[in-house]
Subunit: 327 residues, 2 copies
């Protein structure tokens, strides 16, 4: 691929791109730990991405995208829309590179995510999640200012950047056990982390996990074409996974890999958060706990080469306290 | 030193012993992360020992001690007394090495610590913390069975083993920043982690932190001789730091290094637990949060080469929920 091709926003993400992202990220961030967890005699491996500086894996895609902007683009700045973690990922990278960032966030995003995004120096614009059109808002603003839109998953850099998590998983499991993962269980909103991690682990079986009622990727994989979330989806604590429709870029990768879709209930998510608290001593937000929820509920056959993502830890104090105190 | 000297329980812990322990521990456990935390513009480095398999640094001393037992000793087994984390450290090492372990624990130890110690296969005997004499109990039992007593801090192996945490801190900060720590802030019960980390970092200034009213190491350092906790010490959530009297082995090291003693209130501990939750997304038990509590309360001058220990994460759900929900 020529350098020009690499800078084409219409290109497909590749394993080579994932490896390039992993190299750029390794230069500034140590790998998050891959923690062993015993599940009735089988050890699985949990990637604790809540320990990233912004509390989620989204710092990966943000860094890979923004470091590939040219000088003129850096000057005009970036725009992102996000329920919170992507917002912080882009804001963190933007601050470090001195790039102006505008972030469009749902007005009901967790307080912690709104505050942290502002604290990183980004300008935050809020919208109504159920009625507003964030893509349109972003496009209009970009038209006006010439800023580059950084989508949260529908973008080759973002998929490759998130895939660096899968590279670390592969290398860490190899170092710890001598074996690479034979299956990876990944939370799925738009599918950036899932598809990137799939690229990074060409031989692993891929499971994607969504909250009940927000299972558009699962249904799309089963149908063989992209279908949106069904009307009036239920309330969920998994704010990070409330995506109405996935994109061809993530769907095509997961579909080609014959990924299996799973769903979890709110109770299963809460149980997983408690287990992560008690056994691993890490804080996991609801959306970050769905993969563990699926494993604990026995929704897939376990192997001792199973890796899962605990993708983020940005959860409001009171909600976390309620969930942890419940039994 | 000859091999015989190395096996002498009366020997003094040394930097060479700490390095030997660090090597043994590196062979079975990846280093826990050293997480950056911004405190009003200064970055400090937090060693997240709650991410150890047993949720605390105590796995280090347990492993270093038990791997140095000879065959006859391994057969007769080990006895430890502990409020919980040392119990789990010894039990974990014992199970892995196939050594029988009996653990004497206070009957009011956190439920999680009692349960986890039993789950690791150790036989647990409980006693009354305020009236029982755990040292005597252990000595009597050892007399009867020929088992080796593994004290929680008054032992050269334990100090050296815990010191491996200080070795990792030094190496990780060097890798991340190019500099070694110039000061280390460590929680202090009996002083094993503090004195071991001091040995591991010969050029760093050492601060030890205790809960108010349980500040026997601080008062001992100020007096130049070991003094016990004053009568009727206050209630504290820091169960891991409720030590009535430190030992010459830890006191002498810290005294020779001119370590500074600090204390923190329960409120300061709770605040630190909330900050670790919100900013680092790790679960820290009360006793593990005192160093961060001292830093956040401005009790020492900060440098950007400051390292602190977050020494464990074994805390009951309800207590953690109450503390996190409070503001």
């Amino acid at each position: 691929m020529t350098e020009q091709d690499l800078m084409d926003p219409q290109r497909q993400p590749t394993l080579a791109g994932v490896e390039r992202a992993a190299q750029k990220i390794a230069a500034i961030l140590p790998p998050t730990p891959l923690l062993p967890l015993d599940i009735e005699g089988t050890t699985i491996w949990c990637k604790a991405e809540g320990l990233q500086p912004i509390g989620a894996f989204k710092i990966r895609g943000g860094w890979h995208r923004l470091t590939d902007l040219d000088d003129a683009q850096r000057e005009r700045g970036v725009i992102a829309f996000s329920s919170g973690n992507h917002a912080q990922g882009v804001a963190w990278a933007a601050r470090r590179l001195g790039v102006p960032a505008t972030i469009i966030m749902p007005e009901d995003a967790p307080r912690a995510k709104l505050e942290n995004t502002r604290a990183l120096g980004a300008e935050v614009i809020t919208y109504d999640r159920m009625n507003g059109n964030r893509e349109q808002l972003a496009a209009d603003l970009a038209q006006e200012t010439g800023a580059v839109v950084v989508p949260s998953f529908d973008d080759p850099w973002i998929v490759e950047g998130q895939g660096s998590c899968g590279v670390e998983i592969r290398r860490q499991m190899q170092a710890l056990t001598g074996l690479e993962p034979d299956q990876i269980v990944v939370c799925c909103g738009g599918g950036g982390l899932a598809s990137g991690s799939a690229l990074a682990n060409p031989d692993a079986r891929i499971f994607i996990v969504e909250p009940e009622g927000w299972d558009d990727m699962k249904r799309s994989l089963e149908r063989g074409e992209i279908v949106p979330v069904e009307p009036d989806p239920p309330a969920t604590d998994c704010d990070a996974l409330q995506t109405f429709r996935v994109s061809p870029i993530t769907f095509d990768i997961l579909s080609a890999r014959d990924a299996t879709g799973l769903t979890v209930s709110e109770d299963e998510v809460h149980h997983a958060m408690r287990v992560a608290f008690e056994k691993l001593h890490v804080v996991v937000e609801p959306g970050g706990a769905v993969a563990l929820g699926a494993v604990l509920a026995g929704k897939l056959p376990l192997t001792n080469r199973t890796a899962i993502t605990l993708s983020g830890g940005n959860v409001d104090n009171r909600l976390f306290a309620e969930i942890i105190a419940g039994t």
